[in-house]
């Protein structure tokens, strides 16, 4: 009982043992994978061994090839994200703050949303060619919706009683927006942003596998041509790490921006 309440050394040890326990299975899988590769059970052309992947990782970093392509990918993701989040935010404000705005903006967006945005790739190539534009446009298109939908719901979900209190205390429209609507909708916006970041990587994977000459996706696709499964695995790990890192980044942002929330106050 006391262990659970007072953090003492025993409790910290137990926590450590718990995390170590969670690591056991992944480590076992890696070991099994290495053994399977070493004994020839899994041939190199199917999947490179973990040790080989680690070696390739270092080589790619030493060559500067990984960093170069990573930067290109990051740039595409961030530019697309910036455009998508901006549009999503503006649309959500228009349709969240006024009925006529909702009528004008919500219906077309909902119709467009029914089309899986990745299906627009052929059209984007016809419109924008094969340079950077279609890739950034794809990321932008994919990230509009999560931001729009969440922020719009957040604005509409503001407690009417708080709006009434604001009006009572003499706030004008602009002040109500600034002091009540926007901070109140911020949690929903951040949820949307988190989805949007996830989608930006997803659209990048698709965009970079079509007619790219740089980027992590290009690295993976050209490795395929030479059956370099080690490079493909490195690319997959980078995608995974990018997703993980950006998620941590947004969680940190949430923790700071939403310090007032009961769930964060308790934690």
């Amino acid at each position: 009982m006391t262990d659970a309440l007072i953090p003492n050394q025993g409790n910290m040890l137990r926590k450590f043992a718990h995390s170590a326990g969670r690591a056991v299975t992944p480590i076992l899988i890696l070991v099994a994978w290495q053994i399977a590769s070493a004994t020839g059970l899994v041939p190199e052309r199917t999947l490179a061994s973990p040790l080989h992947v680690i070696g390739t990782f270092w080589t790619l970093i030493a060559d500067g090839e990984l960093q170069d392509n990573l930067l290109v990918s990051l740039r595409r993701a961030m530019e697309g994200l910036a455009i998508g989040v901006s549009f999503g935010t503006v649309f959500a404000l228009i349709s969240g703050l006024s009925r006529s705005g909702e009528a004008a903006v919500d219906a077309p967006l909902q119709i467009l949303r029914a089309i899986p945005f990745l299906a627009l790739v052929p059209l984007f190539i016809l419109w924008f060619g094969i340079g950077e534009t279609p890739k950034i446009a794809l990321v932008a298109l994919g990230t509009i919706y999560p931001v729009y939908l969440n922020l719009y719901a957040g604005i509409r979900g503001i407690d009417k009683k708080l709006l009434e209190a604001g009006a009572c205390f003499g706030l004008n429209h602009w002040q109500i927006l600034r002091h009540i609507v926007l901070p109140g909708a911020l949690p929903s916006f951040l949820v949307g942003l988190r989805y949007a970041v996830g989608i930006s990587w997803l659209s990048l994977v698709v965009a970079e596998q079509i007619n790219a000459s740089s980027g992590i996706g290009y690295l993976i696709m050209s490795a395929r041509d030479f059956m370099r499964t080690d490079i493909i695995v490195v690319g997959l790990i980078v995608y995974g790490l990018l997703g993980l890192l950006t998620d941590i980044l947004i969680r940190t942002l949430e923790h700071r921006a939403l310090a007032w929330r009961p769930s964060i106050l308790k934690g």
Binding site: K161, A167, C168, H179
Partner: protein
């Protein structure tokens, strides 16, 4: 402390009628509140007392009738309605203009005994603390008319007693005109100069309470006034074989077709 001349009433309502669809909530209501007067408005649920307060707060438009109000009003609602994303002192300064808003907020919070929680988030406050912040937010505006919409209804009994004392003390110092909407007869008797009962959209019963502050339930005439107000609210505390009451303690029952008389019998202290 304000030294308003006692000439014109702060609040003057004439023939206020409010309908929601086919439902008439207020039916030609008349009321004056003198400057610095503490008025408690009682009524059964659905009697329109909250609608009336919302009208005075400017949250409900006047469609029929005449309402004269001071420009400087503040409201304390049943729920604190604090912005969860603003710290306590920022909630108090919400919409405040002029110099040193924070200093004024600190002073107001000191008055309600919360100057040690200036930088706390509302989610960390107890119900009573949150309501005290709401009170400070109203006070900091130095309102001429303070509207209290069942502000203590959601609090536990002990906290409510402390809030009664606090409100009585603050009113004595600042002397705003107060309209307290409540369903708690004791609360009305402890705090108000005048208790009104709203019924069928009009003020049907009026009781002046002249006992000096601070008051306690042990004050003279308390239980008789209590029984009067309760019976006006349709609760017969004495049962069928009621104790005979001296005539002059009976609250004034306003005739159905007349305006409430302002000459309500005043309870005499013995």
């Amino acid at each position: 402390m304000k030294t308003n001349p006692r000439s014109a009433p702060d609040v003057s309502v004439r023939g206020l009628t409010r309908r929601f669809g086919a439902n008439t909530v207020l039916r030609g209501l008349d009321l004056d509140i003198e400057s610095g007067e503490f008025v408690a408005l009682l009524g059964r649920s659905g009697s329109g007392k909250t609608t009336f307060l919302r009208t005075l707060a400017g949250l409900d438009a006047v469609t029929q009738g005449e309402v004269r109000l001071p420009a400087n009003r503040a409201v304390v609602f049943q729920e604190p309605r604090l912005m969860p994303w603003k710290k306590v002192w920022q909630n108090v300064t919400l919409g405040l203009t002029g110099a040193d808003a924070r200093g004024r907020a600190v002073a107001a919070l000191k008055e309600v005994g919360l100057d040690h929680r200036l930088d706390a988030w509302p989610a960390t406050l107890s119900g009573g603390e949150a309501q005290r912040v709401a009170l400070a937010r109203a006070l900091v505006r130095e309102p001429q008319l303070l509207l209290l919409d069942e502000p203590f209804a959601a609090l536990d009994a002990l906290t409510r007693i402390r809030m009664h004392e606090l409100v009585a003390a603050l009113w004595t110092v600042h002397k705003p005109s107060v309209l307290l909407v409540t369903h708690d007869v004791d609360e009305a008797l402890l705090l108000a100069d005048r208790a009104l009962v709203l019924e069928d959209g009009r003020i049907r019963t009026e009781l002046k309470i002249t006992q000096p502050h601070p008051r306690a339930r042990a004050m003279i005439g308390f239980s008789l006034m209590r029984a009067d107000l309760l019976s006006a609210l349709g609760v017969d505390v004495d049962g069928p074989a009621g104790i005979a009451k001296p005539a002059d303690t009976v609250a004034c029952r306003v005739p159905d077709d007349a305006k409430p008389r302002r000459t309500a019998p005043v309870l005499r202290s013995v």
